[in-house]
Amino acid sequence: MGERSKSFDDRLLDLHLNRLSAEETEQVEQEVAGAPETAGRSRALRDLLKLLDANEVQPPANLADRILAHVERRERAIPFSRERERTAARSGDRVAGRGYSFGWRDLAAAAACLVLFFSVAIPGFNKARSVSQRTRCLDNQQMISSAMTSYGQANAGYLPYSGYIPGASWLPTNDPQVPFASNTQHVFRLIKQGYLPNVQVFICPADRNGRPLTARDLQALQDFAHRNNNSYSFLFMNRPQGVRLESLQSGPGRQTVVIADRNPLLPPSGVPTTMPVQAVSANSMLHDRGAGQNAIYADGYSGFFTRPTIGVDADDIYRVGSFNSYKGTEAPLAPTDTFLPP
């Protein structure tokens, strides 16, 4: 079918659909009359379209009234919807399709829902996070504990030991007459000698100020450069001969706490500028501002304890005896006096 005839078909159809102007109608009718074939096609189309008239549809009686009754019935069931539309229309808002326009009541309801949600969810989330941090913190301690055992087995049964300095202070001191003997320098050997995979294990996930040493620092150092490089406290080691594994594997030694979360003796801000340090029985500050501490015993028992009096005979693991004032040179008073210096 060519373009001309196609165009004529369009016009012929429009003729029978009464879509042409009077002038166009006259023109098409002349064309139809002038060609018998076209006239036949026109008649066929007219007859075909006439058939469609047979499809009469009679609307039911009172249709409009029934529609209005239906709308009224449904609107009564959902009055808010009507009010919402009306309000939107009056205020000039446009409600797109089934769209929804927020009012102050909706915002207030949404805000209340959010407050309720966060008041329920946030405490739950915080608690779950705390539990997770404690668990990972204890995992780190267990890795260090295993490394200490391995070190002892490879070093004549002695725990990591960097030597003994008589009269030294485990607290940094300004007194030139009192040497400083860090209690963490001993376990630092575990890193230097490759018993631990990295320095990150010395950082408890709950320690907000924890900052692991860099690999470059590690090569040059013999101890942690800053207290923030290590979150834990270890069994007091400034002894003339170190500590033998054997002494911790039988008798009361089995109940010795070897590692625990950082001793709270030092204030969070760092090294005290004045001596002595006042101390009271307190938990480590790593978990939820003093909720308790993880600890590992020599026999492998471990857990999270809500009090620091978990040594032999309910000894406070963070204090020497029951001293309330420290210069830094204090040492355990007896084999059963567990002390884990800062």
Binding site: D9, D10, L13, L17, N18, R19, L45, L48, L49, L51, L52, A54, N55, E56, V57, Q58, P59, P60, L63, A64, R66, I67, L68, H70, V71, R74, E75, S81, R82, E85, R86, A88, A89, R90, D93, R94, V95, A96, G97, R98, G99
Partner: protein
């Protein structure tokens, strides 16, 4: 006093007056019913649909674009609802035993159901007149015509919408409307002849 336009009536309805909406319903209920009945081939379905269409107009009148004409918008909503319903029926072909047979019964006729067919498989005992046969054939052919062709034919032939407004109602280009109308007429002619041959 001049007759208010559809758009003016809708604006008054949105302003909170009850009468303009009733006027719109009275103005368009018969025409819209005819469209829906021809489009769906089912008078009962058309009546259900028309109630839902006007309910939506009543509830969502504020969403009407005042730069457009009301009538094409009304038919757009009706066509969309009819299409949705027809598709949902196709997805769920099972029908209740007393369901009306689509495309067979119409207004003024005795409603035929599956129960009637189960009772009498010989179809209607009443001998159909030639005009009645013609009417039934047309309805059957239209109801079996593809939806996209049927809607163009109904809007164009029975309701006389301009091509441009049909394009607007159906959301298709103008050229598509024209080509579908040609296809619809061709389809109707071919199917009607086939339907007549079947009965001879």
């Amino acid at each position: 006093m001049s007759t208010p336009t559809d758009e003016q009536l809708l604006a008054e309805h949105l302003a909170g007056k009850p009468e303009p909406f009733a006027t719109l319903v009275h103005r368009y209920s018969d025409e819209l019913f005819r469209f829906l009945a021809r489009f769906t081939g089912n008078a009962a379905m058309a009546e259900d649909l028309i109630q839902e269409v006007f309910l939506q107009i009543h509830q969502s009148g504020a969403s009407f674009d005042t730069s457009r004409r009301f009538k094409p918008w009304l038919f757009t909503i009706a066509a969309n609802k009819a299409r949705d319903l027809l598709r949902s029926k196709r997805r769920r072909p099972e029908m209740p035993l007393d369901a009306e047979v689509a495309g067979v019964s119409g207004e003024g006729e005795e409603k035929r159901t599956f129960l009637d067919f189960l009772a009498d498989e010989s179809q209607s005992p009443v001998a159909a007149s030639s005009l009645e046969e013609q009417r039934e054939n047309v309805r059957r052919v239209l109801s079996e015509m593809p939806e996209r062709l049927r809607e163009v034919l109904v809007l164009s032939y029975y309701h006389g919408f301009p091509y441009k407004e049909i394009a607007e109602i159906l959301g298709v280009p103008l050229g598509t409307v024209k080509s579908r109308l040609h296809s619809a007429i061709e389809h109707f002619g071919r199917s009607y002849r086939a339907a007549v041959k079947e009965r001879v």
